[in-house]
Protein backbone atom coordinates (compact mmCIF):
# COMPACT_ATOMS: atom_id res chain seq x y z
CA UNK A 1 0.00 0.00 0.00
CA UNK A 2 2.61 2.50 1.13
CA UNK A 3 5.12 1.15 -1.39
CA UNK A 4 2.63 1.71 -4.19
CA UNK A 5 2.12 5.31 -3.04
CA UNK A 6 5.88 5.87 -2.94
CA UNK A 7 6.31 4.47 -6.44
CA UNK A 8 3.43 6.56 -7.77
CA UNK A 9 4.84 9.70 -6.13
CA UNK A 10 8.18 9.05 -7.86
CA UNK A 11 6.38 8.77 -11.20
CA UNK A 12 4.37 11.95 -10.55
CA UNK A 13 7.67 13.74 -9.87
CA UNK A 14 8.64 13.11 -13.52
CA UNK A 15 5.25 14.25 -14.83
CA UNK A 16 3.46 10.92 -15.16
CA UNK A 17 -0.22 11.82 -15.54
CA UNK A 18 -1.42 8.21 -15.18
CA UNK A 19 0.38 7.89 -11.84
CA UNK A 20 -1.24 11.11 -10.66
CA UNK A 21 -4.64 9.79 -11.72
CA UNK A 22 -4.03 6.69 -9.59
CA UNK A 23 -3.05 8.77 -6.58
CA UNK A 24 -6.12 10.93 -7.07
CA UNK A 25 -8.30 7.82 -7.17
CA UNK A 26 -6.72 6.53 -4.00
CA UNK A 27 -6.65 9.65 -1.83
CA UNK A 28 -8.74 12.46 -3.28
CA UNK A 29 -11.92 11.61 -1.35
CA UNK A 30 -10.10 11.43 1.99
CA UNK A 31 -8.27 14.70 1.38
CA UNK A 32 -11.51 16.42 0.34
CA UNK A 33 -13.33 15.13 3.45
CA UNK A 34 -10.52 16.30 5.72
CA UNK A 35 -10.46 19.77 4.12
CA UNK A 36 -14.25 19.96 4.29
CA UNK A 37 -14.24 19.14 8.01
CA UNK A 38 -11.90 22.05 8.68
CA UNK A 39 -13.37 24.70 6.38
CA UNK A 40 -17.00 23.47 6.40
CA UNK A 41 -17.49 24.66 2.83
CA UNK A 42 -17.69 22.03 0.07
CA UNK A 43 -16.59 24.14 -2.94
CA UNK A 44 -13.69 25.59 -0.95
CA UNK A 45 -12.72 22.09 0.19
CA UNK A 46 -12.68 20.93 -3.44
CA UNK A 47 -10.37 23.83 -4.32
CA UNK A 48 -8.11 22.94 -1.42
CA UNK A 49 -7.97 19.27 -2.47
CA UNK A 50 -7.07 20.43 -5.98
CA UNK A 51 -4.31 22.67 -4.61
CA UNK A 52 -2.93 19.79 -2.58
CA UNK A 53 -2.50 17.69 -5.71
CA UNK A 54 -1.02 20.62 -7.62
CA UNK A 55 1.48 20.97 -4.77
CA UNK A 56 2.11 17.23 -4.93
CA UNK A 57 3.00 17.55 -8.62
CA UNK A 58 5.40 20.41 -8.04
CA UNK A 59 6.85 19.00 -4.82
CA UNK A 60 6.75 15.25 -5.36
CA UNK A 61 10.50 15.24 -5.88
CA UNK A 62 10.92 16.60 -2.35
CA UNK A 63 8.79 13.82 -0.83
CA UNK A 64 11.03 11.51 1.20
CA UNK A 65 9.45 8.11 1.75
CA UNK A 66 11.92 7.31 4.53
CA UNK A 67 10.51 10.14 6.65
CA UNK A 68 6.91 8.90 6.46
CA UNK A 69 4.08 7.72 4.28
CA UNK A 70 2.57 9.80 1.49
CA UNK A 71 -0.99 10.09 2.83
CA UNK A 72 -0.06 11.70 6.18
CA UNK A 73 2.18 14.08 4.22
CA UNK A 74 -0.77 15.00 1.99
CA UNK A 75 -3.06 15.39 5.01
CA UNK A 76 -0.56 17.74 6.63
CA UNK A 77 -0.48 19.84 3.45
CA UNK A 78 -4.29 19.75 3.41
CA UNK A 79 -4.54 20.88 7.03
CA UNK A 80 -2.25 23.83 6.49
CA UNK A 81 -3.94 24.79 3.22
CA UNK A 82 -7.37 24.61 4.88
CA UNK A 83 -6.29 26.71 7.87
CA UNK A 84 -4.69 29.24 5.51
CA UNK A 85 -7.91 29.36 3.50
CA UNK A 86 -9.95 30.01 6.65
CA UNK A 87 -7.56 32.79 7.65
CA UNK A 88 -7.75 34.29 4.17
CA UNK A 89 -11.55 34.28 4.37
CA UNK A 90 -11.55 36.33 7.57
CA UNK A 91 -11.64 39.77 5.85
CA UNK A 92 -14.77 38.76 3.94
CA UNK A 93 -16.43 37.49 7.06
CA UNK A 94 -19.92 38.03 5.66
CA UNK A 95 -19.32 35.34 3.06
CA UNK A 96 -17.73 32.85 5.42
CA UNK A 97 -20.42 33.51 8.01
CA UNK A 98 -23.07 32.88 5.37
CA UNK A 99 -21.44 29.57 4.52
CA UNK A 100 -21.14 28.64 8.18
CA UNK A 101 -24.80 29.44 8.72
CA UNK A 102 -25.74 27.38 5.70
CA UNK A 103 -23.79 24.47 7.17
CA UNK A 104 -25.48 24.86 10.52
CA UNK A 105 -28.95 24.37 9.06
CA UNK A 106 -30.16 20.92 10.09
CA UNK A 107 -30.09 18.41 7.26
CA UNK A 108 -33.55 16.80 7.09
CA UNK A 109 -32.00 13.52 5.95
CA UNK A 110 -29.36 13.41 8.68
CA UNK A 111 -29.90 11.83 12.05
CA UNK A 112 -30.45 13.92 15.15
CA UNK A 113 -27.03 12.77 16.34
CA UNK A 114 -25.36 13.98 13.19
CA UNK A 115 -27.09 17.36 13.38
CA UNK A 116 -26.03 17.70 17.02
CA UNK A 117 -22.41 16.89 16.12
CA UNK A 118 -22.44 19.44 13.31
CA UNK A 119 -23.83 22.06 15.67
CA UNK A 120 -20.96 21.43 18.10
CA UNK A 121 -18.37 21.31 15.33
CA UNK A 122 -19.59 24.67 14.01
CA UNK A 123 -18.76 26.26 17.36
CA UNK A 124 -15.17 24.97 17.39
CA UNK A 125 -12.33 27.05 15.95
CA UNK A 126 -10.78 25.63 12.74
CA UNK A 127 -7.56 24.56 14.50
CA UNK A 128 -9.51 22.52 17.01
CA UNK A 129 -11.56 20.95 14.24
CA UNK A 130 -8.32 20.09 12.45
CA UNK A 131 -6.84 18.55 15.60
CA UNK A 132 -9.93 16.42 16.25
CA UNK A 133 -10.14 15.26 12.63
CA UNK A 134 -6.44 14.41 12.47
CA UNK A 135 -6.34 12.60 15.81
CA UNK A 136 -9.65 10.73 15.87
CA UNK A 137 -10.43 10.25 12.19
CA UNK A 138 -7.07 10.18 10.41
CA UNK A 139 -5.17 8.26 13.06
CA UNK A 140 -2.42 10.80 13.69
CA UNK A 141 -0.55 10.55 16.99
CA UNK A 142 -0.63 13.45 19.43
CA UNK A 143 2.93 14.41 18.42
CA UNK A 144 2.08 14.30 14.71
CA UNK A 145 -0.95 16.52 15.24
CA UNK A 146 1.21 18.92 17.24
CA UNK A 147 3.85 18.96 14.47
CA UNK A 148 1.22 19.56 11.82
CA UNK A 149 -0.37 22.45 13.68
CA UNK A 150 2.95 23.88 14.81
CA UNK A 151 2.34 23.56 18.52
CA UNK A 152 3.22 21.19 21.37
CA UNK A 153 1.54 17.98 22.49
CA UNK A 154 0.28 19.52 25.70
CA UNK A 155 -1.70 22.16 23.80
CA UNK A 156 -3.13 19.51 21.48
CA UNK A 157 -4.13 17.39 24.46
CA UNK A 158 -6.11 20.33 25.83
CA UNK A 159 -7.76 21.03 22.48
CA UNK A 160 -8.73 17.39 22.04
CA UNK A 161 -10.01 17.01 25.58
CA UNK A 162 -12.29 20.03 25.35
CA UNK A 163 -13.49 19.06 21.89
CA UNK A 164 -14.18 15.50 22.91
CA UNK A 165 -16.23 16.55 25.94
CA UNK A 166 -18.40 18.81 23.82
CA UNK A 167 -18.83 16.19 21.12
CA UNK A 168 -19.63 13.42 23.57
CA UNK A 169 -22.45 15.56 24.92
CA UNK A 170 -23.80 15.79 21.39
CA UNK A 171 -23.30 12.10 20.65
CA UNK A 172 -24.79 10.85 23.93
CA UNK A 173 -27.41 13.39 25.00
CA UNK A 174 -29.21 10.79 27.13
CA UNK A 175 -26.04 10.01 29.08
CA UNK A 176 -25.56 13.71 29.72
CA UNK A 177 -29.14 14.03 30.95
CA UNK A 178 -28.49 11.07 33.23
CA UNK A 179 -25.37 12.68 34.67
CA UNK A 180 -27.24 15.93 35.15
CA UNK A 181 -30.05 14.17 36.97
Amino acid sequence: MQQLDDRLAEQVAVGDRAALAQLVDRHHAQIYRHACRIVRDAPLAEDIAQDVFVKLCSGAARFDAERGALLPWLLRITTNAALDAKRALKPVSDLSEANELADQRPDPHATAESNAVHAVIAQLPPRQRAAIALFYLEGFSMTEVADTLGTNSKAIEGLLSRGKTALQAALNPDAQKGYAA
Binding site: H28, F53, H118
Partner: protein
Protein backbone atom coordinates in the same frame (compact mmCIF):
# COMPACT_ATOMS: atom_id res chain seq x y z
CA UNK B 1 -7.93 -0.24 28.09
CA UNK B 2 -11.21 1.40 29.02
CA UNK B 3 -9.92 4.65 27.60
CA UNK B 4 -8.97 2.90 24.35
CA UNK B 5 -12.43 1.33 24.06
CA UNK B 6 -13.98 4.67 24.85
CA UNK B 7 -11.84 6.35 22.19
CA UNK B 8 -12.70 3.67 19.64
CA UNK B 9 -16.41 4.04 20.25
CA UNK B 10 -16.14 7.82 20.18
CA UNK B 11 -14.14 7.71 16.94
CA UNK B 12 -16.66 5.37 15.35
CA UNK B 13 -19.62 7.56 16.32
CA UNK B 14 -17.82 10.71 15.29
CA UNK B 15 -16.90 9.31 11.87
CA UNK B 16 -20.53 8.33 11.27
CA UNK B 17 -21.94 11.65 12.42
CA UNK B 18 -19.39 14.14 11.11
CA UNK B 19 -20.51 13.81 7.53
CA UNK B 20 -19.49 16.10 4.68
CA UNK B 21 -21.31 17.00 1.43
CA UNK B 22 -20.77 14.75 -1.57
CA UNK B 23 -17.90 15.71 -3.81
CA UNK B 24 -18.94 17.04 -7.21
CA UNK B 25 -18.74 14.54 -10.04
CA UNK B 26 -16.30 16.48 -12.21
CA UNK B 27 -13.94 17.40 -9.36
CA UNK B 28 -11.45 14.66 -10.25
CA UNK B 29 -11.20 15.56 -13.91
CA UNK B 30 -10.83 19.27 -13.06
CA UNK B 31 -8.17 18.36 -10.56
CA UNK B 32 -6.18 16.29 -13.07
CA UNK B 33 -6.35 19.06 -15.66
CA UNK B 34 -5.22 21.63 -13.11
CA UNK B 35 -2.42 19.52 -11.63
CA UNK B 36 -0.96 18.10 -14.85
CA UNK B 37 -2.62 19.66 -17.88
CA UNK B 38 -2.61 17.45 -20.92
CA UNK B 39 -1.04 18.93 -24.07
CA UNK B 40 -4.47 19.23 -25.64
CA UNK B 41 -8.02 18.80 -24.31
CA UNK B 42 -8.79 16.19 -26.95
CA UNK B 43 -6.37 13.65 -28.31
CA UNK B 44 -4.77 14.92 -31.49
CA UNK B 45 -6.68 18.17 -31.42
CA UNK B 46 -4.91 21.45 -31.75
CA UNK B 47 -1.52 19.97 -32.52
CA UNK B 48 -1.81 20.84 -36.22
CA UNK B 49 -3.12 24.05 -37.68
CA UNK B 50 -6.72 24.04 -38.77
CA UNK B 51 -7.01 23.54 -42.55
CA UNK B 52 -9.71 26.18 -42.80
CA UNK B 53 -9.00 29.92 -42.86
CA UNK B 54 -11.70 30.34 -40.21
CA UNK B 55 -10.76 29.57 -36.62
CA UNK B 56 -12.58 26.50 -35.45
CA UNK B 57 -13.56 25.33 -38.91
CA UNK B 58 -12.77 21.72 -39.68
CA UNK B 59 -12.50 20.75 -36.01
CA UNK B 60 -16.08 19.80 -35.41
CA UNK B 61 -16.80 16.33 -34.02
CA UNK B 62 -13.11 15.60 -33.56
CA UNK B 63 -12.53 14.96 -37.25
CA UNK B 64 -9.34 16.94 -37.56
CA UNK B 65 -7.30 13.73 -37.28
CA UNK B 66 -9.02 12.09 -40.23
CA UNK B 67 -7.60 11.37 -43.66
CA UNK B 68 -9.74 13.91 -45.46
CA UNK B 69 -8.12 16.26 -47.96
CA UNK B 70 -8.38 19.80 -46.63
CA UNK B 71 -8.58 21.18 -50.19
CA UNK B 72 -11.78 19.26 -50.96
CA UNK B 73 -13.35 19.44 -47.52
CA UNK B 74 -16.98 20.64 -47.80
CA UNK B 75 -16.43 23.18 -45.03
CA UNK B 76 -13.69 24.80 -47.15
CA UNK B 77 -16.10 25.08 -50.09
CA UNK B 78 -18.55 26.80 -47.79
CA UNK B 79 -15.83 29.22 -46.78
CA UNK B 80 -15.02 30.02 -50.41
CA UNK B 81 -18.67 30.65 -51.18
CA UNK B 82 -18.82 32.94 -48.20
CA UNK B 83 -15.77 34.93 -49.35
CA UNK B 84 -17.05 35.18 -52.97
CA UNK B 85 -20.54 36.30 -51.98
CA UNK B 86 -19.13 38.84 -49.53
CA UNK B 87 -16.90 40.30 -52.26
CA UNK B 88 -19.86 40.47 -54.66
CA UNK B 89 -22.03 42.23 -52.10
CA UNK B 90 -19.26 44.72 -51.34
CA UNK B 91 -18.84 45.45 -55.11
CA UNK B 92 -22.55 46.06 -55.55
CA UNK B 93 -22.64 48.38 -52.56
CA UNK B 94 -19.69 50.34 -54.02
CA UNK B 95 -21.46 50.68 -57.44
CA UNK B 96 -24.62 51.98 -55.79
CA UNK B 97 -22.57 54.48 -53.83
CA UNK B 98 -20.74 55.73 -56.92
CA UNK B 99 -23.96 56.05 -58.96
CA UNK B 100 -25.59 58.06 -56.19
CA UNK B 101 -22.76 60.59 -56.25
CA UNK B 102 -22.59 61.10 -60.04
CA UNK B 103 -21.05 64.41 -61.21
CA UNK B 104 -23.06 67.47 -62.15
CA UNK B 105 -24.81 67.09 -65.51
CA UNK B 106 -23.78 69.57 -68.19
CA UNK B 107 -26.76 70.11 -70.55
CA UNK B 108 -25.89 71.69 -73.89
CA UNK B 109 -29.42 72.31 -75.24
CA UNK B 110 -32.64 73.63 -73.66
CA UNK B 111 -34.26 70.22 -74.27
CA UNK B 112 -31.55 68.49 -72.26
CA UNK B 113 -31.88 71.16 -69.57
CA UNK B 114 -35.64 70.52 -69.43
CA UNK B 115 -34.95 66.82 -68.79
CA UNK B 116 -32.92 67.57 -65.68
CA UNK B 117 -34.48 67.05 -62.28
CA UNK B 118 -34.76 69.93 -59.81
CA UNK B 119 -31.67 68.77 -57.89
CA UNK B 120 -29.61 68.32 -61.06
CA UNK B 121 -30.67 71.75 -62.34
CA UNK B 122 -29.78 73.35 -59.03
CA UNK B 123 -26.37 71.63 -59.07
CA UNK B 124 -25.79 72.82 -62.65
CA UNK B 125 -26.69 76.42 -61.83
CA UNK B 126 -24.56 76.41 -58.71
CA UNK B 127 -21.55 74.91 -60.52
CA UNK B 128 -21.83 77.32 -63.43
CA UNK B 129 -22.19 80.34 -61.16
CA UNK B 130 -19.18 79.36 -59.08
CA UNK B 131 -17.04 78.79 -62.18
CA UNK B 132 -18.01 82.16 -63.65
CA UNK B 133 -17.33 83.96 -60.39
CA UNK B 134 -13.92 82.26 -60.16
CA UNK B 135 -13.12 83.21 -63.71
Amino acid sequence: MTNNNDDTEFTHKLANSWTVPEISTDAKSRLLNAALPSPSPLKGEGTTPSPSPFKGEGRAEGKSEGKHNPKTHPKNNNARWYIASSALAAGLALMVFISSTKPVQNPSTPTEMAQLSDDELLNYVFATTTLEENN
